[in-house]
Amino acid sequence: MDTIEVSNLNRQFLFRQSHVGQSKAKVARDAVLKFRPQMSITAHHANVKDPKFNVEFFKQFNVVLNGLDNLDARRHVNRLCLAADVPLVESGTTGFLGQVTVHVKGKTECYECQPKPAPKTYPVCTITSTPSKFVHCIVWAKDLLFAKLFGDRNQENDLNVRSSDAASSSDHAEDVFVRRKDEDIDPYGRRIYDHVFGYNIEVASSNEETWKNRNRPKPIYSADVMPENLTEQNGNVAKNCVVDTSSVSAMASLGLKNPQDTWTLLESSRIFLEALKLFFAKREKEIGNLSFDKDDQLAVEFVTAAANIRAASFGISLHSLFEAKGIAGNIVHAVATTNAIIAGLIVIEAIKVLLKDTDKYRMTYCLEHITKKMLLMPVEPYEPNKSCYVCSETPLSLEINTSRSKLRDFVEKIVKAKLGINFPLIMHGSNLLYEVGDDLDEVEVANYAANLEKVLSQLPSPVTNGTMLTVEDLQQELTCNINIKHREEFDEEKEPDGMLLSGWTQAPPAKDDKQSMNDKQSIGNGGDSSNALQTEPADAVKDGEMEEISEPSGKKRKLSEGSKASILDATDGTRNHKEVEKLDDDDDDDVVMFDDLDSMTNKKKRLQ
């Protein structure tokens, strides 16, 4: 469904400058036909999650090759390929890293057998009160401040949340951000500035507990940073005859040309005020409806400026617009070469699939640094994970307080967020507790809406300890059984959702992420998880999520027909590795094993 953007052109070579704005699928088709005119290519300018691409649709194909850019879509296609029993070749790249994996139902792991890390999220208090990294400042500037000033006023917003008490969204607090009727833009801008960077910081600073072991932030007031009269400094706006609102820019207005330069606190402050001014002067109609878009220059300038000022307050280093844009926009860095390598490897695997050369399927990793003399490392695919709720039938377990948690909580936090089932059908035995669909009548819709608000034990078909719920997604042909276990208490910090799902392995947090990934009451950078701060659905993240590249972990058994592999087999290479035919006789070919104690213990458990 994507259209071509300028930033695609450094690597998506089927496209040209003249194609910007057009459908990727259609232009790609035309470009390929130029050098292979006899190919039969059908272009669908559509979202792969559209219901018309159902199991029947997928059954038409001998192999599916994915080039998606978000986890949600990949999981979706994975489920459809399983339902249709069509092999899937998955892949991803980030900078110099890349990988290609092959998934064949019943023979190899499916794409979800190894849970993929969900996009990074941060605890609310870190964002609102105790930021320690620049990314925290970005999330604050984007999801709180920008949203508050320019987005939907009715949306819940934690901007004034203090760390010590509950959200204080009193009328007084609401007034602060709204521009008063006859208020000039300059005093308005300074007022906002002083409120969020001055007053709020002073209030937060007063809480002794928070700052016991941390450095207190410094309040920053506009008068201290910019003592001069603003109207004189930023007088350009009145003279600015730019008609095209999309090219309105605070940087241009202030003569700051290089997006790679890191602004000072003064420059950031000027940009902050100028950007605010420009939004009101040139884009007033959009205010109240705006959501952050990384390709919106003015929005990026505003968010960078705001994040920088906050960073200055908290002793965090400031960043350039270029860097800030990358963080705020979840931009994935990408080059033509890695993509070319991975593309070649995808085709190689696809051909093996078409030839049904099962033994030759490989997961191949493109490494940035040479490891064991290799830049391209093939690994044999693993057998399906028996506890994978997607491709195996193993039920999951959910600990939950059935007298306190509502069905809505279950649907939002478990079914949608964790299981990735967006159009669920929830049953208790033969009783339908909840479903979505276009064909429901008013009565049904009302019933389901009512059910959502009931606590589990009060549902028409009560859900209590020992109940087995069945969750289905008809489109993905996925059925998931969940055993309910009642539990009274949950740790507010470790289990803020008040639920614990098991039998579904939580992916380990990304290496450099010291924040708790398990923290569910958290804020996503780019929208994620069950939280009021979410301003956009997770699957709207385009240039979005980092393609998950996981270094091969060597923990599970490789796919070898009928072999009862043990660690020894793998390491000494004298496995039943068949008639070599074209394969060389080398002893240490194929599987690369890594020293990893944890994975070895896991492996033993699974072999039992």
């Binding site: 994935v332 860095h333 080059v335 070649g344 490897l345 830049l375 060389d584």
Partner: protein, 322 residues
């Protein structure tokens, strides 16, 4: 650096890759000049990659006329005689490549590679040769080495479903990232002639078989036009293998007959291998120009059969003095 900023157009177009290697490296790329000789599929892929990356200029050399074999693995050549008729491979590729990035100057140079003198090579920062004899490779490498300016030299060849890259960066200083810090490093490369003269017994026992196999195949192909070698030559190649292995005290069974057969018969390139090897080569050239990231030293091999992309260091154990 030299203070020249990237233009707004460059910043917009190269945004995603600047996030990988930085604005500095991008500037260096934009000032670099690449020479490429022998335009088969792999080299076409390589050219596409570096044009997209935004090098300063790319000069192509290949006076052969377009044939069906040429466009079967080279996506820069449309299979339409109306388009390619009367033009050389280099000319058709040049037209296609210009399209990928109007900011890169792509041009064609005609003539015989080995007759050009050092002054010609001095215009370039990188020279990549393909589909030519061992003698020619040695000759060009030497000419590059004689210049006072460092000219990076690469060879690349793909046969059947295998590929080989050779790298000579002479004395190369570069920086690399280790966790949070930047470390300055240096590598010393042997010349092409020095590398292939390294006695085989000096190489690790598990060194890539492709290295040995290709040396045999190339030696047999010596003096003939590229692509002329065929199944009829297999007996001669096997005999040559035996001789080479004996001379080098290498167990002849180490290089399987089946591998040699594959390489002899499969003169045509396999497009996905072109993409893989062209990609690796592209990355290496970018590293060399930007002086960022550890370049591979000094041979790279890829074989679809085992799926590995392997780096072999074929250099004399004794330190080279330069």
């Amino acid at each position: 650096m030299d203070g020249e900023e990237l233009t707004e157009q460059e910043t917009a177009l190269y945004d995603r890759q600047i996030r990988v290697w930085g604005a500095d490296a991008q500037r260096r790329l934009s000032k670099s000049h690449i020479l490429v000789c022998g335009m088969k599929g792999t080299v076409a892929e390589f050219c596409k990659n570096i044009v997209l990356a935004g090098v300063g200029s790319l000069t192509l050399m290949d006076d052969r006329v377009v044939t069906e074999e040429a466009w079967s693995a080279n996506f820069l050549i449309p299979p339409d005689e109306n388009v390619y008729g009367g033009k050389t491979i280099a000319e058709v590729c040049c037209d296609s490549l210009k399209d990928f990035n109007p900011m890169v100057r792509v041009s064609v140079e005609k003539g015989d590679l080995s007759s050009l003198d050092g002054e010609f090579y001095d215009k370039f920062d990188v020279v990549v040769v393909s589909c030519c004899s061992v003698t020619t490779k040695k000759l060009i490498n030497e000419k590059c080495r004689k210049l006072s300016k460092r000219v990076a030299f690469y060879t690349v060849d793909c046969r059947d479903s295998c590929g080989e890259i050779f790298v000579d960066l002479q004395n190369h200083k570069y920086s690399k990232q280790k966790i949070e810090e930047t470390i300055e490093c240096q590598l010393q490369y042997p010349s092409f002639e020095e590398a292939i003269s390294v006695p085989w017994r000096a190489l690790p026992r598990k060194a890539s078989k492709l290295y040995f196999a290709l040396r045999g195949v190339f030696e047999e192909a010596e003096g003939r036009s590229p692509g002329e070698i065929s199944i009829a030559d297999l007996p001669a190649v096997l005999k040559l293998k035996k001789e080479l292995c004996e001379a080098n005290a290498l167990n002849a069974s180490h290089v399987t007959d089946s591998l040699l057969e594959r390489l002899i018969i499969g003169t045509r390139e396999f497009p996905p291998v072109c993409a893989v090897v062209g990609g690796i080569l592209g990355q290496e050239v970018i590293k060399a120009i930007s002086c960022k990231g550890e370049p591979l030293k000094n041979f790279f091999f890829f074989d679809v059969m085992d799926g590995k992309g392997v780096v072999e260091d074929v250099s004399n154990p004794k330190k080279e003095s330069k």
